[in-house]
């Protein structure tokens, strides 16, 4: 496949045509922040934290969904982008109730890591007035909506990899929330296979194995080989030897 040369933050990068800006950056070790993007799942493009500036134009584009083109100049951390990321992350924190000190995911939370990287040291928005209730109806898995950032990785993993289509979305605007089986409790779901893929892809502590305590949730991404396998399979299919 044809190779394309682009520059990412001044560094020249060669990558295959059709590669996304995010993947091209990752190939040279530049990590563009992003919470909804997950290798092996379809592109969602909704967290808007991977926004980058291209060719000096002010309007940013999502790195996870923008394919590279020859001569593209990518800037990943301009002051403006960083400022916007900070505000966006603050909004994410204000939407839920992210208290790291009592969270199962603390220490291995993508939201926590990203916030620290970008330098979010306070949240200037008000928290929501009402608190959503936990779903602990499943015998060994749990879901805490107050820690959910609606990245829909679980929805996509459940449908695209496991094929169970247990997780879905309901409501709109600030009322959007995850549901299982059209709104029945997780434990009563007739489609859930209990595979735990949702737990493995969740970037925060919204999904966890019951019984894990503070900072004990360590998603074993290597336990979801299907995701990587699928990617390799797709690559192999694209390039028939």
């Amino acid at each position: 496949m044809a190779k394309v040369t682009i520059s990412i933050d001044g560094v020249e990068v060669k990558a295959e045509q059709g590669t996304t800006v995010m993947a091209a950056a990752a190939s040279v070790g530049v990590k563009i922040p992003g919470l909804c993007q997950y290798d092996g799942l379809s592109t969602h493009g909704a967290c808007r934290l991977c926004m980058v500036q291209l060719n000096g134009t002010p309007k940013p584009k999502p790195a996870c969904a923008t394919p590279i083109t020859e001569g593209m100049e990518v800037h990943t951390t301009t002051p403006r982008l960083q400022e916007h990321r900070k505000v966006l992350l603050e909004m994410l924190f204000a939407e839920g109730q992210h208290v790291c000190a009592v969270c199962v995911a603390s220490g291995a939370c993508e939201l926590q890591t990203l916030a620290a990287d970008v330098g979010v040291d306070h949240v200037s928005f008000n928290p929501p007035a009402t608190r959503q209730t936990l779903d602990l109806s499943h015998p060994y898995l749990g879901y805490d909506p107050t820690r959910c950032i609606l990245c829909t990785r679980c929805v996509r993993a459940c449908g695209e990899v496991e094929g169970a289509f247990t997780w879905g979305l309901a409501g709109r605007g600030r009322e959007v929330h995850l549901i299982t089986d059209l709104g029945t409790p997780w434990g009563e779901s007739t489609t859930c296979t209990g595979c735990g893929k949702c737990i493995s892809v969740c970037p925060t502590g919204a999904m966890f194995s019951r019984g894990t305590s503070v900072a004990e949730r360590r998603p074993r991404r290597d336990l979801v080989p299907t995701l990587t396998a699928r990617r390799d399979l797709e690559a192999a299919r694209k390039e028939p030897s």
């Binding site: 966006l88 909004m91 605007g173 009322e175």
Partner: protein
């Protein structure tokens, strides 16, 4: 008869209508019906029946006559006499008009409205040309006025490329707000590979106070169908959809009826005008989400999914409905097409400005003497619309601002009254043409409150998929609420601007990207009103440091 003979249908209809000595046209559009139009119609019917004049007087409920603020409107036309338009016709007035004018032959003096009135005289009607004249329930009446002639000529005499060319040459641009050249879109779809292409008419109008598309769908449904069929012929699409919001039941009913009539007359369906061109149209009813007017969300909704936008590219012309190339065009855009083909691209291009050709329908609302539905050539100044057509601000109060483009648009202040109404000029002022909502405000209106209203609308209508729109519109609304309540601080205004930028630059679809426009434009033109609101705030301005975030985390 395998092919429809339009000439024959038109002739029969002309004979049937010519048999009447006089006709009474009652505005049967939604606005007039809500102000008592049905009572007027019933009274006229009763008088005509009691005088045994059913064979001499034709009473018709027509489409919107335009001047909705003076409704119900009734037009009386007697053979050999000038037509007379009556305004504010309630049941009693209708009875008097029917008895004295229709039966007695003597016009009633009061309640008359001159047809030379600038409200009518300044308009140029292309899309709305049949409204107020014909019976939207009858395909024969549409055919009598030259309906389906453009389709007949296109299908029998023109190649699809020639139709695309004509639309390209006309300079027609999307009337839904974006202003993308329609011809470009058509040629993209025409060139796209695939046998299962679709064309979609977007009738998911949702801007507060706007009802252009509803009126066109209700009162001239065949024009929409003809435009859509022409689009399908030009682009090679086989399936058409009309996406109508559920709040428009009359539009749905009229369109369904129009589709049945069109199929019966073989201008739609399997073998159109006896040729191999086949095209079918289905109606899809939206479930009441503003965001479904966004094309990718609209397609998701048609396919039965959640009405949420997806990333573009790929654009619908590459990957649309069920993965096949599709094209989405606003109802008003499509309604222009039959006339473009009938009267030629040059004629159409001669109306309007260099880059914005043709006319635009506006729903004129707010504090004006005359409000209603108007169609004006693009390039007309805002002043002409407000002062001539609108008759000036109601009660002689001073003009303050005009809001165009609904929740995605901005407010234009008095100093820009002479701006030309075209896509580029409005954008330069921080507003947009939009789909045609035009709300005029007088000096009593508080601009921060206007901004808050539109932000609340966007917050309620956000689909919740992307973070900047879902959370950003909420935070913006919270901040605006605080400012409007007089509890804001000066740094809050800077904060407001920063938040607007974050939402505008980072949102996934047009809803979020344009949601800050009402705030940004009012902040730009009416900043002193915001400052007056925060000046009396609890935090003294001297101690508030610019650049420091408003501390409302603990409030």
């Amino acid at each position: 008869m395998s092919t429809p003979d339009l000439f024959d249908i038109a002739q029969k209809e002309a004979e049937a209508q010519g048999a009447f000595v006089s006709s009474v046209l009652c505005c049967g559009s939604t606005a007039c019906l809500t102000s008592g139009g049905q009572a007027a119609r019933d009274a006229i019917d009763e008088v005509v029946a009691s005088n045994g004049l059913e064979r001499d007087v034709r009473v018709v409920s027509t489409g919107c006559m335009g001047l909705c603020s003076r409704g119900p409107l009734v037009k009386v036309r007697r053979r050999g006499e000038d037509e007379v338009l009556y305004a504010d016709v309630d049941g009693d007035a209708a009875r008097e008009i029917a008895e004295r004018h229709v039966v007695g032959g003597e016009a009633v003096e009061h309640g008359q409205l001159s047809l030379d009135h600038p409200f009518f005289a300044r308009q140029v009607r292309v899309v709305l040309e049949h409204l107020g004249e014909h019976d939207p329930n009858r395909i024969e009446d549409y055919i009598l006025r030259g309906g389906y002639k453009a389709l007949e000529r296109a299908v029998l005499e023109m190649t699809p490329e020639a139709v695309v060319d004509e639309v390209l040459k006309s300079g027609l641009r999307g009337r839904g707000g974006g202003g993308y050249p329609a011809g470009n879109k058509w040629s993209l779809l025409a060139k796209a590979p695939g046998d299962d292409k679709s064309v979609i008419a977007n009738g998911d109008e949702g801007d507060p106070g706007a009802y252009m598309d509803r009126t066109v769908m209700e009162d001239d449904p065949h024009r929409v169908l003809e435009g859509l069929a022409l689009c399908a012929y030009a682009t090679g699409a086989k399936q058409g959809f009309i996406y109508v919001r559920a709040e428009y039941p009359v539009a749905v009913r009229r369109l369904e009826q129009a589709i049945r009539q069109a199929k019966r007359n073989k201008v739609l369906g399997k073998s159109i005008f006896g040729t191999a061109f086949a095209f079918d149209v289905e109606i899809r009813i939206g479930a009441g989400a503003f965001v479904c007017g966004e094309e990718t969300a609209l397609m998701a909704s048609i396919m039965g999914g959640r009405g949420t936008p997806v990333l573009r590219p790929p654009y619908p012309t590459e990957r649309g409905l069920w993965g096949n190339p599709s094209l989405i065009q606003n109802v008003e855009t499509l309604a222009n097409v039959p006339t473009i083909l009938n009267r030629g691209a040059e004629w159409f291009a001669s109306i309007g400005t260099e880059r914005s050709r043709g006319t635009k329908v506006f729903a004129l609302a707010g504090k004006l003497e005359n409000t209603g539905l108007i169609e004006v050539p693009m390039g007309i100044t805002l002043r002409e619309i407000v002062e001539d057509i609108g008759g000036g601000v109601a009660g002689g109060r001073p003009f303050k601002a005009a809001q165009t483009g609904g929740p995605s648009g901005g407010c234009i202040p008095a100093k820009h009254l002479d701006t030309s109404m075209d896509y580029e000029s409005l954008q330069a002022l921080g507003s947009i043409m939009g789909s045609g909502g035009l709300i005029v405000m007088d000096d009593e209106v508080k601009m921060p409150e206007v901004a808050r209203f539109f932000m609340q609308f966007c917050m309620d209508e956000s689909c919740g998929k992307c973070l900047p729109c879902r959370a950003g519109t909420h935070e913006l609304h919270e901040l605006l609420k605080k400012v409007c309540a007089g509890e804001g601080t000066l740094p809050d205004l800077d904060r407001l601007e920063t938040l607007c930028e974050v939402v505008r630059d980072n949102s996934l679809c047009g809803l979020g990207q344009t949601a800050p426009n009402p705030v940004l434009s009012t902040l730009h033109y009416f900043r002193e009103e915001y400052e007056a609101l925060v000046a009396g705030a609890a935090v003294p301005q001297a101690s508030a440091q610019p650049g420091v975030n408003a501390q409302d985390g603990s409030a």
